[in-house]
């Protein structure tokens, strides 16, 4: 028998239904893989006992023919999702030891459908970062390496643990979150598929908030079909989140393999940024050719406010973060550092509890919301956000079904290589992904090839609001046309 961890989620699901092996066998194989991969630092908390108990319950349901859509499927949960009675840290010292007495809606949806939890995955602290280097619990090491070079590489971020664990075959899929690219960029860096659905598609209830008008939950998986299966379980209306939208969740898996005939794919000229590498541009051109060959119509489009998106994001996101993170004050949960009075206690607690990147963003956010600067920065950024959204509405109104762009400006980089001198250098990782969050649209990253150094590169598709199905259809077409990206063989 091949190693059970080599299967795809869909294959494992079908094999469990046929009773080729048990959910407990499958859980044991993954618990073993997780324990053997501690060098990658993917997990902050492992939950092997819970995994085996859930798997035993899955076997009982499967035996009775009552298995759910994800029955017995081992998954990792980003440690930004609150999980009942299991430590939830947001990769921050300030939340170390916090054990929620409740379950996030999205993870609860996964357990409802039969999934099995292997543990809580590492991330950038409070999801602020593009390399997983800001975690209080240490960086995640990518399972990928440059050809013939053992330099440890970042898996991307903020969902770095999720992407690395899926690429290293520690789990069939993982939950992730995306505020400016935190699902799509790590997926692109690790040769996995990641989708950020439309804002409102998944409930944010029970997910530690970073920037509430940008945050959205989504899955990372090993292929488009597996991502579609996971999103169907994760998505849905939730009365506990007033921004969650009450629209039916389609069977996304049915969209995989659909025809591209008659589909119009937009190619935005503004994404051809100055200094784009020949490798990334070449991949993009290759993607255009694949979609054309598959029967799509390719249309040159313009999204004129693209170049302002990243700057506007670095006002809106820190502003919302400064407000959301005000709750960490050493009173109701998490770390407390004593002070000479209550104000000093707040200040000492927050100084000790937040890492440098989080502190920087809270301070920028505080500044742009402060008296005298609010209109010049925050209100202006929100107006520009309206213009960015309008650009997309215009092209969709003109009949574009999806937009094809590169996912990242480069392949994965080495740990410690970027951003230590200038925070902007790290922020530029999100240049292709951040517009999607600003406009609330769905976006998917699909592996499309390897760099000259043998590292995965991804393409991004941007869709109409609540039309994730087209992204799965077109994403599957790219996956079918692209040379298969073989995940790294185990060295850890």
């Amino acid at each position: 028998m091949t190693d059970l961890t080599d299967l795809t989620l869909a294959e494992a699901r079908d094999a469990l239904a046929r009773k080729d092996f048990s959910a407990v066998d499958l859980a044991k194989a993954h618990v073993g893989a997780v324990a053997a991969a501690r060098a990658l630092n993917c997990f902050i908390t492992e939950t092997p006992e819970q995994a085996l108990a859930q798997a035993a319950a899955s076997d009982a349901r499967l035996a009775k023919g009552e298995g759910g859509p994800l029955e017995g499927i081992p998954l990792g949960i980003k440690d930004l999702y609150c999980t009942k009675d299991v430590q939830t840290t947001a990769a921050s010292h300030i939340l170390e030891g916090f054990t929620p007495p409740y379950e996030s809606t999205v993870s609860a949806n996964l357990w409802r459908d039969g999934a099995v939890m292997l543990g809580k995955l590492n991330l950038d602290e409070f999801a602020m970062g593009s390399s997983n280097e800001t975690s209080y619990f240490g960086p995640v090491i990518s399972p990928w390496r440059r050809a013939g070079d053992p330099t440890p590489l970042v898996p991307g971020g903020s969902s770095g643990g999720s992407a690395a664990a899926v690429a290293a075959k520690l789990c069939f899929g993982a939950t992730a979150t995306d505020t400016g690219g935190s699902i799509r960029q790590p997926a692109a860096f690790t040769g996995t598929v990641g989708i950020k659905p439309t804002y409102g598609r998944c409930s944010r209830w029970g997910i530690v908030a970073f920037a509430s008008s940008l945050d959205q939950a989504g899955p990372i998986a090993r292929n488009v079909r597996d991502a579609a299966i996971l999103l169907r379980s994760m998505a849905g209306h939730d009365p506990k989140d007033t921004t969650s939208v009450d629209v039916p969740v389609p069977d996304y898996e049915a969209a995989v393999g659909g025809s591209l005939k008659g589909k119009k794919i937009g190619i935005p000229r503004e994404y051809r940024i100055d200094g784009i590498s020949a490798e990334i541009d070449g991949l993009w051109q290759q993607g255009i050719a694949w979609l054309k060959d598959a029967g799509a119509e390719i249309v040159e489009i313009t999204l004129p406010h693209t170049k302002y998106a990243l700057a506007a994001y670095y006002i809106v996101a820190p502003a919302e973060a400064s407000s959301n993170l005000a709750r960490y004050d050493g009173v109701r949960y998490g770390l407390r550092v004593p002070g000479k009075d209550i104000a000093d206690m707040y200040e000492q607690t927050r100084a000790a509890g937040f890492g440098k990147e989080v502190r920087r963003r809270i301070m920028i956010g505080t500044y742009v919301l402060s008296a005298g600067y609010y209109d010049a920065y925050y209100v202006r950024a929100q107006k520009i956000r309206t213009l960015i959204k309008r650009d997309f509405e215009t092209v969709f109104h003109d009949g574009i079904d999806a937009i094809l762009t590169p996912a990242t400006p480069s392949a994965a980089f080495g740990i410690g290589e970027k951003g230590s001198a200038d925070p902007i250098e790290m922020y530029l990782n999100d240049i292709f992904t951040v517009t999607v969050n600003m406009a609330g649209l769905p976006g998917i990253a699909v592996p499309a090839g390897l760099s000259s150094q043998g590292l995965p590169l991804g393409l991004q598709l941007i869709g109409r609001p609540f039309d994730e199905e087209t992204l799965f259809t077109v994403g599957a077409a790219i996956e079918a046309a692209a040379p298969k990206v073989e995940l790294p063989k185990r060295w850890w």
Binding site: Y333, P338, I342, F354, K383
Partner: protein, 95 residues
């Protein structure tokens, strides 16, 4: 626009984060790098543009003003660093 060291201290205090004196200069440099980066937004004509207030436009959802999950004071206080009889304990606020 850029910030001076007094402003950095004021922001830190507004954000309720203690900052050591030797960190002020570094923070000033980082904040000014970000402020310089966002300067480009000044060139956009935003005359007559409404600021975005709702990502997906929809009517505000409402619910009945009733207790949904009550009597869980144990759960609410279980993670607090200091509690007494379901109260959060903090340093003395009034002398």
């Amino acid at each position: 626009m850029s910030v001076d060291q007094a402003t950095v201290k004021r922001i830190a205090h507004l954000a309720r984060i203690a900052v050591r004196d030797e960190e002020i200069g570094v923070l000033q440099g980082e904040l000014n790098a970000i402020l310089a980066f966002v300067e480009t937004l000044g060139e956009v004509d935003v005359e007559g543009v409404e600021p975005m207030t709702s990502v997906m436009p929809m009517p505000m959802k409402k619910r009945k003003d009733i207790v949904t999950e009550g009597n869980i004071a144990d759960l609410i206080t279980q993670n607090a660093p200091g509690t007494e009889d379901h109260f959060f304990v903090v340093p003395k606020v009034i002398e």
